[in-house]
Amino acid sequence: MSIQEQAIATELNPVDEPQAGTRHFTVRRFVPLIIVVVALALLYWWIASVPLDSIERRTLNWSYILNRTREHLALTFAASALVAVLAIPAGILLSRTRSKIARGIVLGIANIGQATPAVGVVILLAIIWQIGFSTALVALVAYSFLPVLRNTMVGLQQVDASVRESAKGMGMTPNQVLWRIEMPLAVPVIAAGLRTALVFAVGVATIATFINAGGLGDMIVNGLKLQRFPVLATGAVLVACIALLIDWLAGIAEDYLTPKGS
């Protein structure tokens, strides 16, 4: 009898979960941000303290750096937005098709896009098409398509079969099951895919410089070619900091997009 009472008592008073919101902002969460600030401060202090020659001065000034950063970000975000608009619907369609052939073909193409070295894709595209922003954009999209496509499919597939069945059993239409149940539950996985794609794009956007599409790759390549170490280092540190910062922001966005109960 006492066991029964105990069982009932625990059943009526389940342990409360910590409230959402408090768990998102721990000290650990801010480590990447601190690293970025420290790295940029050190870089600034170092560049300010070394004597620069005329070549270096042409590159290491605010307007040049801001323009390259702007180009770099434009390329990154345009590519990521395009990937989101293309790969998420493609992932939804593929996860709902029964045709293994269609799934195989699309996944195969996406795989090739990612497996082919990005430099090769950029240069091949430039030869057969044109140089500049659009070409770099296409190459970036091809490169970061797969993680979003795959995560959309996995995110939809990992929804508990019993959850899907009860949704159907309650009279939801297939579209209602998708938008009210499957998509909200798949959001964390899809967001993780987008986060990967964004970080990929920041790194790969450096090669846009080879086809005259700007970006921080200009600084890295010029620094190498002209053997100006401060220029090379500034470009590299900036790219790394942007990647860290975007990953950090995407992580926060992911937490906010994750449905509360899951």
């Binding site: 029964q4 069982a7 625990t10 979960e17 959850v163 309650m170 009279g171 939801m172 539950l185 109960g261």
Partner: protein, 354 residues
């Protein structure tokens, strides 16, 4: 049928206190399989009846049940609710009026308890205030405090609480028919017994027509108005009341499914007053008593526990007689001989199979 799909569904929905279900020669054959999962299954469930499908895993009992809300479409045969052929209706709209509870519960993890229960009312376009009132009412019905639970998420609840929410969610639009697929199968014995008792109490007031699938014969005896004992391909071996199945199993298969202790199980279905009570004076005064509305199993339990020869039976606070082991045996009477013959391999009387 002259009436439109919509009127048919509305008519089914309006009858909230149980509808009749007729399954007529239902067969389900999966492509690329030579043997059908369900073969030529026919059954009639009366309004307000709680029918248990009992059988071993893979016998097709769940498949048969899922054809009623068309989660699985039958290959041939017809199904009607309240005389309306449901196979011609819109499946999604139909399902909004058939309560559905599954063993894994399938609560939506990203919705609060209140939102989970409100799913069908939302699909039916109820107003916000009507839905909110209904959610509170249902939470109270399944004995969960609305103030405490409405805003919680499923994973913050215990298994037993989740299954109660599952039942509340299925009842949301007050459907005439409920389908329950081993709803209490995954809970611990104590919680299960509690949920079963609450469920019986609930059904007594609601009077839904319920198809309840289980592999636990004791659960079937405890809950069912009638039990269908099923074997491979969903063949009905016997379809009768629990007392009748326990008293005279139709064949060896049913007898083996009942298992040992059929007599004891039967006692739990018979009220004490069905026995011919002895004189009041036979029982020792002031000691253990049983109530007139207890079962013979309770009486036997008390007799074994105390070691007394006779125990007083009490009704409305006064002794109305006494009960002994001999008197309990007399109630089981000649029937128990039947089960002995079945045990020796002779086939029993045919069950009421439609």
């Amino acid at each position: 049928m002259p009436e439109s799909t919509n009127t048919a569904i509305t008519a089914i929905a309006r009858n909230t206190s149980g509808a009749s279900i007729v399954l007529d020669r239902i067969t389900k054959t999966y492509p690329n399989q030579s043997v059908s999962a369900v073969d030529n299954f026919s059954m009639t469930a009366n309004p307000g009846e709680l029918i248990m499908f009992v059988g071993p895993s893979g016998c097709g009992k769940t498949t048969t049940m899922k054809m009623i809300n068309r989660i699985i479409e039958p290959t041939s045969g017809s199904i009607s609710i309240d005389g309306r052929d449901i196979l011609s209706l819109n499946a999604n709209e139909l399902r909004r009026h058939i309560g559905y509870v599954i063993q894994q519960i399938g609560l939506f993890p990203h919705m609060t308890i209140a939102e989970n229960i409100a799913v069908v009312p939302r699909l039916l376009g109820w107003s916000k205030s009507k839905t909110a009132d209904r959610v509170d009412e249902l939470l109270a019905t399944v004995q969960l405090d609305p103030g405490l639970f409405a805003r919680r998420y499923p994973r913050q609840l215990s298994g037993g609480q989740q299954q109660r929410v599952g039942v509340a969610r299925a009842l949301a639009a007050d459907p005439p028919v409920m389908l329950m697929d081993e709803p209490f199968g995954a809970t611990d014995p104590i919680t299960r017994e509690k949920l079963q008792a609450e469920f019986l109490r609930l059904q007594a007031t609601l009077g839904k027509t319920i198809i309840f699938v289980t592999h636990d014969f004791d659960e079937a005896v405890r809950l069912g108005d009638r039990i269908a004992v099923l074997s491979d391909q969903s063949q009905i071996e016997q379809f009768d009341t629990p007392a009748e199945i326990l008293a005279s199993p139709a064949n060896e298969y049913v007898a083996s499914f009942i298992g040992h202790g059929a007599a004891i199980k039967r006692l739990s279905l018979i009220p004490v007053t069905d026995a011919e009570l002895g004189p009041v004076g036979d029982a020792a005064a002031g000691t253990v008593t049983v109530n007139a509305d207890d079962t013979l199993r309770d009486a036997l339990d008390a007799l074994v526990l105390t070691g007394l020869r006779a125990i007083a039976v009490v009704a409305d606070g006064r002794n109305v007689g006494s009960i002994t082991v001999e008197r309990i045996s007399t109630v089981l009477g000649a029937d128990s001989l039947d089960s002995v013959t079945v045990g020796r391999g002779a086939s029993g009387p045919a069950g009421e199979v439609s």
